[in-house]
């Protein structure tokens, strides 16, 4: 029981620091062109990694622990990559 409680606390603390942001992107049909999204976020220091899903038109952003990336920054970078943000949600 003690281990379970400790494990739960540990999991909760990890999820609190490692944020995941899901961004629905319109117009993302060409994988070569969508490379620009990766490139734009690569230079963002708060971003740990990023995954592009063309099936779901979804960009999933994982930030470094304790770091955040604002909606404004996400919208700016997606726009500079040539796309439109449809929706931003956070876990």
């Amino acid at each position: 029981m003690k281990k379970l409680i400790l494990g739960t606390i540990l999991m909760m603390s990890m999820s609190a620091f490692a944020a995941e942001v899901n961004v629905k992107v319109s117009g993302m049909v060409c994988s070569m062109c969508a490379q620009g999204i990766e490139k734009k976020f690569k230079n963002e220091s708060s971003v740990k990694n990023l995954k592009v899903d063309l099936d779901e038109k979804l960009v999933t952003i994982h930030t470094h622990e304790g770091k955040e990336v604002s909606d404004e920054v996400i919208t700016k970078l997606i726009t500079e990559a040539g796309y439109n943000v449809a929706e931003i949600s956070r876990k």
Partner: protein, 205 residues
């Protein structure tokens, strides 16, 4: 022969195009045919505009033509739909043309044009019209991909291109081709119905 030179020149100009890409992105492109080469480097200083240099060389027997252009491309309009994207681009450029067809001639030159495209993950179509100093050209492309390929995978497209060059060939020149791209690299291989081979390479970075 002169017409062949000009035909090759303009033919290569329409091989593929990503006129404007993401902000601060570069496009390096090389297109090659039997007696021809074209290389350009474009820099997108915004998601709407790109500037760059464009160099052309083609040769046949003792005849050679080279051209260097400074170009500006503009993304005039873009539609970003859920499952599709459409674009309208305009182009403009000025430069110098050096032609050696019997006698050597060096002169200033220019171009302007427009293109429209629409694509989904499995369909692609485009229409372009370019006006050069003496010739106008119109080109259409249609392509399809047999399946929706994941982002990280090799993409394969089957495409066909039709083109008319005013004053040079009244007939539509048809070129079937294969297009591949993987990450930021695109290459195309094809052969026209006249037997002219095509080999193109493009890199975004």
């Amino acid at each position: 022969m002169k017409k062949l030179f000009i035909l090759l020149f303009f033919y290569s100009n329409f091989l593929f195009a990503h006129p404007v890409i993401y902000k601060d992105g570069f496009v390096l492109s090389s297109a090659n045919m039997a007696d021809y080469s074209n290389n350009y480097l474009m820099y997108s200083f915004s998601q709407r505009f790109a500037v760059g240099v464009d160099h052309w060389r083609f040769s046949q027997d003792d005849n050679n033509t080279e051209m260097g252009l400074l170009k500006l491309n503009h993304l005039l309009w873009r539609y970003n739909g859920h499952d599709s994207q459409a674009n309208i681009y305009i182009h403009g450029g000025v430069g110098v043309e050096d032609r050696e067809i019997g006698t050597k001639l060096t002169r200033g030159t220019y171009m302007y044009g427009a293109e429209v495209d629409w694509e989904t993950r499995t369909l692609f179509t485009s229409l372009k019209h370019y006006q050069f100093q003496e010739i106008s050209t119109t080109q259409a492309r249609f392509g399809f991909s047999p399946k929706e390929t994941p982002f990280e995978s090799l993409q394969t497209w089957f495409m066909v291109q039709g083109m008319i060059i005013d004053d040079l060939n009244e007939k539509v020149m048809i070129t079937p081709m294969l297009r591949f791209f993987y990450h930021n690299v695109l290459w195309e291989v094809g052969s026209s119905t006249r037997g002219d081979w095509m080999l193109n390479l493009m890199v975004h970075y």
